[in-house]
């Protein structure tokens, strides 16, 4: 059962529908939690911040139609709450996108589908780990959270062009890192298909 975001938001705003709110929560909460974790590097405050954002959203449900891009709104709310938390916790540390901790994400390939060797899986993990933090975060938001350039730009407060440039860098680096495997693997796959 897939309900569109618009339908969920309508039911939440005009019917006070908690089941619809639960569905929205379950669709969105995990990537938002990972996003909060990238800033906070601790599980508990990241969880609390994200849940708090949802509780506040429920309290504001009667104005939901005034929020134009709900996903961007949620990511920005999480980002602001996380930065506020850090400001209170660590007075002397400036946090910017370049010092984010993105290691946490399990950015691995769908191995079942691709029949990858163990060696290749490790190479993919290493290639992702090598990406600079900001580059990796953008790669994660686009690839895993399925956000558009425009949405990522809105969330991080940068231009869509920067998002494009960063993602292109990520793609190039990954491709370059995996290039040595390409010849052998593609031949193997060809052999399998006969």
């Amino acid at each position: 059962m897939h309900v569109t975001m618009e339908a969920l938001l309508y039911r939440i705003q005009f019917h006070d529908d908690q089941q619809a709110f639960k569905a929205l929560y379950q669709q969105q909460v995990f990537p938002l939690y990972q996003f909060a974790f990238a800033f906070l590097k601790q599980r508990q405050p990241a969880e609390e911040i994200v849940n708090d954002v949802f509780v506040k959203l429920w309290e504001k449900r009667q104005q939901l139609d005034k929020i134009h891009e709900i996903k961007v709104y949620l990511y920005v709310a999480v980002k602001n709450a996380a930065l506020n938390y850090l400001r209170k916790a660590t007075i002397f540390t400036e946090t910017d996108l370049d010092s984010l901790h993105v290691q946490h994400f399990r950015l691995e390939a769908d191995t079942a589908q691709l029949l990858l060797t163990h060696e290749l899986q490790q190479a993919i993990a290493a290639a992702i780990q090598q990406l600079p933090p900001k580059c990796k975060l953008i790669f994660k938001l686009v690839k895993q959270d399925e956000l558009s350039y425009k949405e990522v730009a809105g969330i991080l407060g940068i231009s869509p062009k920067t998002v494009d440039a960063q993602l292109t860098i990520a793609m190039k680096k990954l491709a370059a890192h995996l290039q040595p495997f390409a010849g052998a693997e593609s031949i193997k796959q060809k052999a399998k298909s006969y």
């Binding site: 639960k22 929560y25 909460v29 995990f30 939690y33 990522v152 793609m171 491709a175 593609s186």
Partner: protein
């Protein structure tokens, strides 16, 4: 150069920013280069959502969030009126003696911190959502409370004043409404409670579904009410907690009106003031709550006049003018105080 172009196009496609021409270009490039196609496949598969982890996280997280969603009641909106059309309705109207309520609150004082309270001030109607999804409307000057176990090991609420409930069905956890005089058991339906502390009678009105009413002072008396039945229980206001020797109640059918969608007992939810064969004194008490005023009769005989009528709740002046069409009287208003005379 070709691999750079492929990387750029892969990035654009992932970011939902590629044009149709660019997508076609990418397809052509990948079709011509087996190695590049293989790499693109790998890169595309990287970052697939981990659905299991997401589901586990969301299930645990929702437990944390669900309990926090009902604290602020949302004000009643006219837009919500269509809820009624869809719902089978049970109205239960009860009224309560003040003494018992006060005693109960004192007895449970140590637990008071854990109790969740919802209240509608005089002159206001409030709509709110309970943790189990039940919707509650509170009429002016009403209050409900429930403990931390609500929706976990019980669905008990305590009421003073008048509320209407649209109860979420849950066979495992029966919904029980406690007032000073009775307990009302419901299994998933709509439900209206009136339990103002200064009224002389309790009423339970069923419009659709079924409820069981147990008299608090004589638990052996269990009354099952069917649709369009109303239970009226005589109570003395401002009595102490001393048990009443006998319970005086009767079950009657709902009075019919020309407009079948209008039920006198629940008209308050639609911002209507409705009364049928009620004394002027009773009507005045309703108006005091609805408009947050004090009404004084300068002629005692006026109090006993019997009135019937329905009107939209607009303002106290309009309401009094409409009442003047039913029975002749004069009125004057001094701030929040209304004086009625012949």
């Amino acid at each position: 150069m070709k691999s750079e172009r492929i990387a750029a196009l892969l990035a654009k496609r992932a970011g939902q920013a590629a044009t149709i021409e660019e997508l076609e270009e990418l397809d052509r490039l990948l079709a011509a280069d087996r190695e590049a196609a293989w790499l693109a496949g790998i890169v595309d598969a990287v970052g697939t959502r981990n659905e299991d982890a997401a589901t586990t996280f969301a299930t645990a997280g929702w437990e944390q969030v669900a309990g926090k969603l009902t604290v602020t009641p949302a004000p009643l909106r006219r837009k919500a009126a269509f809820w009624w059309a869809a719902a089978a309705i049970i109205g239960v109207i009860l009224s309560a003696g003040i003494g018992w309520q006060m005693m109960q609150q004192r007895k449970t004082a140590p637990l008071a911190a854990a109790r969740q309270q919802l209240a509608a001030p005089l002159g206001k109607t409030v709509k709110a959502l309970l943790p189990d999804g039940t919707i509650v409307w509170l009429n002016a000057g009403s209050n409900i409370s429930y403990d931390a176990g609500f929706n976990h090991n019980n669905r008990n609420i305590t009421v003073t004043g008048e509320i209407f409930l649209d109860v979420t069905k849950n066979e495992a956890l029966p919904f029980i409404v406690h007032t000073s005089n009775m307990d009302v058991h419901v299994l998933g339906t709509c439900f209206n409670i009136k339990a103002y502390e200064d009224d002389t009678r309790s009423e339970v009105t069923v419009i659709g579904g079924k409820v069981q009413v147990i008299m608090r002072n004589s638990p052996e008396k269990k009354v099952i009410l069917l649709p369009h039945e109303k239970l009226v229980l005589a109570v003395k206001p401002n009595t102490t907690a001393a048990p009443q020797a006998h319970v005086n109640f009767q079950v009657q059918g709902l009075a019919g009106t020309a407009d079948t969608s209008l039920v006198m007992e629940t008209a308050w939810r639609d911002q209507k003031l409705a009364f049928m064969n009620e004394t002027f004194e009773e009507v005045a008490r309703k108006m005091e709550r609805q408009f947050n005023v004090t009404i004084s009769f300068e002629d005692e005989n006026m109090k006993r006049e019997i009135l019937s009528g329905v009107f939209e709740k607009e303002n106290i002046n309009k309401a009094l003018q409409l009442l003047q069409m039913i029975t002749p009287f004069h009125y004057s208003i001094d701030q929040q105080h209304v004086y009625l005379s012949k």
